[in-house]
């Protein structure tokens, strides 16, 4: 399935040094391997668009069949996917490690809430700042603010490499944690938080108001159904933009800087600008995910400790998505999000008892953390290309068997 998205014909021209053995790149396979794969898949040229269309049709039809709680689980996965796509560009394509993703998620959430109108649920708290922009514009604003903030981090992100950057970005998470508690007029404070405005576009509200107004094929469309489509659209746009960047000039520049700085600068790639740029883009994605998250939660509440909605644990969960999916692979990031965020929600929906296997404190969240912790270790040890590489290999095997069958 993952093959369906990752490799269009002609996309195999990655950086010059990344050979077919470089499993860390999804789109970086150059030369013979890609050519061979293209031959293998030539018989399936019709299969690929067909599979994409089928997947989209299924995704569009799901709200007609699934209950609201399952839809909300799916929406949570989409939030993860958007954030993970941004992070995989940074880590996989540009070779920069960031633990600050949760901070930009938080900034995105706060920006959306502050820019959008105050829903007025807590009128007694008059000191809350609210700019009253249309929510759709506030969403865009949140992305822009996060991207600019990411750009403002350029003195660090442009100069500091790899692991040093990981620890440097850890600083952002702690800073966000502190500011979240201090700037009560923006965040609502840790005690009660504040409510974000419902997402709406040209007067159409993605919320529960008067669900009887919108009935599709006998299914009343409430908030869960409406948000599904909004989030799906945002995810698809994010996906396509990232794919365009990876296949185009920026992606080649990132991979060149990642693989060989000296070569990249000789080829005319400005190192600092390229690194700072990908960091800003990654931050923008995180901001979008954060804005989606706060709409999904229906409340903005800063964390009370380092572990929380926007804590280190979230940064690590996003890292896990990206690693398990396969570093640098955009479809991989989506699959990683499905595993890390999807598993947690599915377990929460299916497990009714308080603890799994009768072990005290063995919650769905804990089991998910064990699974992705183990998945990270297994992926690094045995399959550095992650789910994306497994998917590629499966489709290649599938293609070769269908080829033989002819």
């Amino acid at each position: 399935m993952s093959e369906t998205f990752s490799q269009g014909p002609g996309s195999g021209t990655g950086s010059g040094t990344a050979a077919g053995t470089d499993t860390a790149t999804a789109d970086g396979d150059a030369g013979t391997t890609a050519a061979r794969r293209r031959n293998l898949l030539s018989g399936n040229r019709m299969l690929r668009p067909a599979a994409v269309i089928l997947l989209l049709v299924v995704l569009l039809a799901l709200p007609l069949y699934l209950s609201a709680s399952w839809l909300r689980a799916g929406e949570f996965v989409m939030i993860g996917a958007v954030g993970a796509i941004g992070l995989t560009l940074l880590i996989g394509q540009a070779g920069q490690l960031s633990l600050g993703h949760a901070f930009f998620l938080f900034v995105g959430a706060v920006s959306y809430t502050v820019l959008a109108p105050d829903p007025g649920l807590r009128g007694e708290n008059a000191e809350l700042v609210s700019l009253g922009w249309p929510p759709a514009l506030a969403l865009v604003g949140a992305v822009v603010i996060c991207a600019l903030l990411g750009l403002a981090f350029a003195p660090i992100s442009g100069r500091v490499r790899g692991i040093y950057l990981a620890v440097a970005t850890l600083a952002l998470v702690f800073l966000g944690f502190y500011l979240g508690r201090e700037l009560v007029s923006l965040t609502g404070g840790t005690g009660s938080g504040r409510a974000p405005a419902d997402l709406s576009l040209f007067g159409f509200c993605f919320c529960d108001e008067r669900p009887e107004d919108l009935v599709v094929l006998g299914v009343p469309f409430g908030e869960a159904e409406r948000l599904w489509y909004a989030f799906l659209a945002l995810t698809v746009v994010g996906y396509l933009l990232a794919r365009g960047a990876v296949r185009g000039r920026p992606g080649r520049a990132w991979r060149a800087v990642r693989d060989n700085e000296a070569m990249a600068s000789v080829m005319g790639v400005p190192l600092a600008r390229s690194r700072a740029g990908v960091f800003a883009i990654s931050s923008g994605y995180a901001g979008l995910a954060g804005a989606m998250l706060v709409v999904w939660f229906g409340i903005l509440k800063p964390d009370e400790s380092e572990i929380g909605t926007y804590g280190i644990n979230v940064s690590i969960a996003f890292l896990a998505m990206v690693i398990v999916g396969g570093l640098g692979s955009i479809p991989g990031a989506v699959w990683g999000a499905a595993l890390v965020y999807g598993l947690e929600k599915v377990l929460e929906l299916t497990v009714t008892s308080a603890s799994i296997f009768g072990i005290v404190g063995f919650t769905p969240v804990l089991l998910t953390q064990f699974v992705y912790g183990a998945a990270i270790i297994l992926v690094v040890l045995f399959e550095p290309g992650g789910l994306a590489a497994i998917g590629r290999r499966l489709t290649a095997a599938l293609a070769s068997t269908t080829e033989k069958g002819r």
């Binding site: 500091v160 790899g162 620890v167 064990f370 912790g373 183990a374 550095p384």
Partner: protein, 292 residues
Amino acid sequence: MTEFLQLTVSGLGKGAVYALLALGFVIIFKATDVVNFAHGSLVLLGGYVVIATKDILGYAGAAAVGIAAAGLGALLVERLLISQSKLADPISLVLLTIGVDVIITEEIIRRLGVTAPFLGGPLEGAPLRLGNIVVFRPQLIALIVGVVLITAFFLAFRYTGWGVAMRAQAENREATALMGIRSSWVTGSAWLVAGLLAGVAVLFIATQDFSGAGLGRGTHAIALAAFPAAIIGGLDSTGGAVLGGVIVGLTEAYTAGYISFDFSESAIYLVMLLVLVARPVGLFGTRELSRV
């Protein structure tokens, strides 16, 4: 002035503990090129073993077993995971340690449940008074133990065969192997030593006077502060790690005293950012040069 002295003493005590942790990072980084994000979980592991064995062995026995457990845990991570993936790039290995960290930390937190037990033991007691200055015992003992251990480490690093092998391997791995030094022995012992230091550190961290909180997620977060310490000093400088630890400890104490307690946690990271802006590889880190 009294307050300043008071904060300095307290900051030095904290700094000694951060220095122990940061030294562990640096030893591991020098020997295996891995930045060990699982360090916080090793700290928790040591602390948990102390809690679990305290009633049977008494404090001193439990502390010894806890320190050994943290060291052994580190050794196992190196032997079972890191040494099995020599071909992986450093970033992948960092990610691997994050996976290890998640699993160990979550399991220990689950076992602890809602309790956050203090490891105090004989370390805690009535604070000492030197004139107007109050010295909390864990901080004073941490300072003494820190100075002793760090001195011992540097002597060993400088004069023993082990130290020579460590430094040789950090300089040039292939040449060291050709000289007949077993690489696995060097990397394994590096992780072991780092784990032992983490096991010592937790005895001080999870006390009333040091952090005000028992063993739990907070301990893990405090152990993370050793990261800025190591980065400030430079990831491949052992001396830098000690200085970084002291800088972090003092920064935390001064900001908590003069500005606000909430700010102190962010302040150490801000100091690290300032250092990184001026020197992207830390104060004493080696600049990577690329030859074309």
